[in-house]
């Protein structure tokens, strides 16, 4: 099957310094892809390139075979949704209003949301277990609640791909687990491709079928968790001593930081 997103030899630089180079990557239909790498390795830049917010300086990105750069912003938003770290509501909106913003790329300039849009928004809230928040103000939510609402907004776009930039930073254990569980059910049950950038190596190991590991703007390694999450790889990429064994419950690689 044709990949949803294809990156061919993609490079991007801020000024003269290359942030990413020679990235070849495919995101397949319905897969949950984890992207790991230390700070500054180009993870967020990669996500922004995949969403067309940044334009590659070399190489090209295809969305279902079409060049990303040839699509208008609304077409991109119907295919790709992103939950970034910058989310900052200056004025008061209800949770439902925020999720309905996800319908923007599907509506005409002067068009109001109809019953169908409301249905989609409510279903998105249901899928992220946030339906009971619908009438609350976005300002009154906890970190975990807000993250679920923003994922619901992304779902309301009815995209083929959802990109998540560190969705679990600032969240406690319970919410981390909940978000990853939610994200993996999106790909498993709804056939949505999910690309998640994270620093939670163990969670990525547990939930993602495929991992791409970045280091200094290039792909250091990629493949299944057991192939990528080796002691050699992690010590090289994160530059610190670790112990890697298998999680006795899931059998997936488990990382312990050594003092």
């Amino acid at each position: 099957m044709e990949p949803v997103l294809t990156l061919k030899n993609v490079g991007f630089r801020y000024g003269m310094a290359w942030a990413l180079r020679g990235i070849d990557l495919e995101v397949n239909e319905g897969e949950l892809l984890g992207i790991l790498g230390p700070n500054g390795s180009g993870k967020s830049t990669l996500l922004k390139l995949m969403d067309g917010i940044l334009v590659p300086d070399e190489g090209k990105i295809l969305v279902r075979g079409k060049a990303l750069s040839s699509l208008g912003r609304t077409s991109v938003a119907r295919e790709i949704a992103m939950v970034s770290q910058e989310n900052y509501f200056r004025f008061e909106f209800s949770v439902l209003e925020v999720v309905l913003m996800g319908r923007f790329p599907h509506l005409g300039r002067f068009q109001f949301e109809g019953p169908k849009d409301l249905d989609i928004a409510l279903n998105a809230l249901k899928a992220t277990h946030a339906l009971d928040l619908a009438e609350r103000s976005i300002h009154g939510l906890s970190g975990g609640e807000k993250q679920r609402v923003l994922i619901a907004r992304a779902l309301a776009q009815e995209p083929g791909v959802v990109l998540l930039d560190e969705p679990t930073s600032f969240l406690d254990l319970k919410y981390k687990r909940e978000i990853f569980g939610l994200v993996s059910s999106l790909s498993a049950d709804k056939g949505i491709s999910v690309v998640v950038v994270s620093h939670d190596i163990d969670l990525v190991s547990q939930y993602c079928k495929r991992i791409v590991m970045l280091r200094g703007g290039i792909v250091h390694d990629s493949g299944e968790p057991a192939e990528v999450l080796t002691r050699t790889n992690i010590e090289a990429v994160y530059d610190c001593p670790v112990l890697v064994d298998n999680n006795p419950v899931t059998g997936k690689p488990r990382i312990t930081l050594l003092g």
């Binding site: 917010i53 938003a77 910058e86 509501f89 008061e92 909106f93 209003e97 996800g102 109001f112 409301l118």
Partner: protein, 343 residues
């Protein structure tokens, strides 16, 4: 799931509330036509409009030659300032923004004051100079504030602040060297003056304001999304550079235009958008019509006060808006300040 049915904002609700605001506006206009130094009874007002009073009747003259054009100007100016405030607050994601924040006020003031110094007429020359000053300011803000990555809000805000300071210095220079008769005219312009209204300019302003409101209304969903961050706006499908540039230019154009005929009237573009937000929430599909109509109502009321409180003499309308606006704003800040600045 036992939930009360929740519904998104509908066009019907926007239209209903806008219609109510229009009815309110009509009543305020009526009241304002009746009030003033010369007493005009309701009967004579009806007579003037139905044509049963001769056109040369003093009441008819006062209504059609003096009060009506002034009220229409006040309405259009209030409408535009408040519309500009709503849009700029969203665009700059700054609840303290008003339509003058990018320095358009000082640019047009500088133009107007140079027009006054040069002895131009109040009907043509001064507005022309003022509008030219506004356009120059917008051009400078956009040209100096645009980077490779597009217009960044903090950059254009800073550019506006700097231009404002620079133009104010030049204005001060002209004021301090002006003769006393011109000084009076200048001050009146700086505090806003709606008494010089004629139908000619109104015929230009009205269609421009209507067209601008329609264009801006087409961006109301964009503005909702932009208030939640520019990057997420792009992710949701907003062509951010185009949307920002279009809104900025359209607002600047109407503000430059109305200010050139009214002088500087503060607080309308700050207070009315806030009131509208408090009453109707943050959805710009509601805020734009409600805020604009509210601005029209507010300024007509303020101008009616300006020409009646010390009748037969009158105050600059900006004195009234500031006098009403500032305490009210402080009250609002005390009451809900923390909620505005929360991120």
């Amino acid at each position: 799931m036992n939930m009360t049915p929740i519904r998104p904002l509908s066009a019907g609700k926007v239209i209903t509330i806008s219609a109510l605001m229009c009815a309110c506006l009509f009543l305020v206009v009526l009241l304002s036509l009746l009030l003033g130094t010369a007493e005009i009874s309701f009967d004579r007002l009806v007579g003037a409009f139905s044509g049963s009073l001769p056109a040369a009747d003093p009441s008819a003259l006062i209504i059609f030659k003096i009060r009506l054009p002034r009220i229409i100007l006040a309405g259009l100016v209030g409408f535009s300032l408040s519309l500009g405030g709503v849009v700029f607050q969203a665009l700059l994601r700054n609840p303290l923004a008003d339509p003058f924040i990018l320095g358009i006020s000082s640019g047009s003031a500088l133009g107007a004051i140079m027009g006054i110094v040069l002895g131009f007429s109040f009907a043509v020359g001064v507005p022309f100079m003022s509008f030219a000053g506004a356009l120059l300011t917008i051009y400078l803000v956009v040209a100096l504030g645009t980077r490779k990555m597009g217009m960044e809000s903090s950059t254009i805000l800073l550019t506006g602040v700097i231009l404002n300071a620079f133009f104010t210095a030049i204005i001060m220079f002209f004021i301090s060297t002006a003769s006393s008769s011109r000084l009076y005219t200048m001050l009146f312009w700086l505090f806003g003056d709606l008494s010089q209204s004629h139908y000619g300019p109104l015929a230009i302003i009205a269609p421009v304001v209507v067209a601008a409101s329609i264009v801006l209304y087409g961006f109301s969903k964009h503005l909702n999304i932009i208030t939640a961050g520019e990057e997420s706006a792009v992710q949701l499908g907003v062509e951010i550079k185009k949307a920002k540039m279009a809104c900025l230019l359209v607002v600047s154009l109407i503000i430059g235009l109305v200010v050139s005929f009214s002088g500087l009237i503060g607080f309308v573009g700050l207070i009315v958008p806030h009131l509208a937000r408090m009453a109707f929430g943050s959805d710009h599909r509601m805020l734009i019509p409600v805020g604009s109509l509210g601005g029209a109502i507010f300024l007509i009321v303020a101008d009616t006060l300006a020409r009646t409180v010390i009748s037969p003499s009158e105050l600059p309308v900006g004195v009234i808006t500031a006098f009403l606006g500032a305490p009210f704003f402080i009250y609002l800040l005390m009451k809900r300040g923390s909620q505005w600045s929360r991120s």
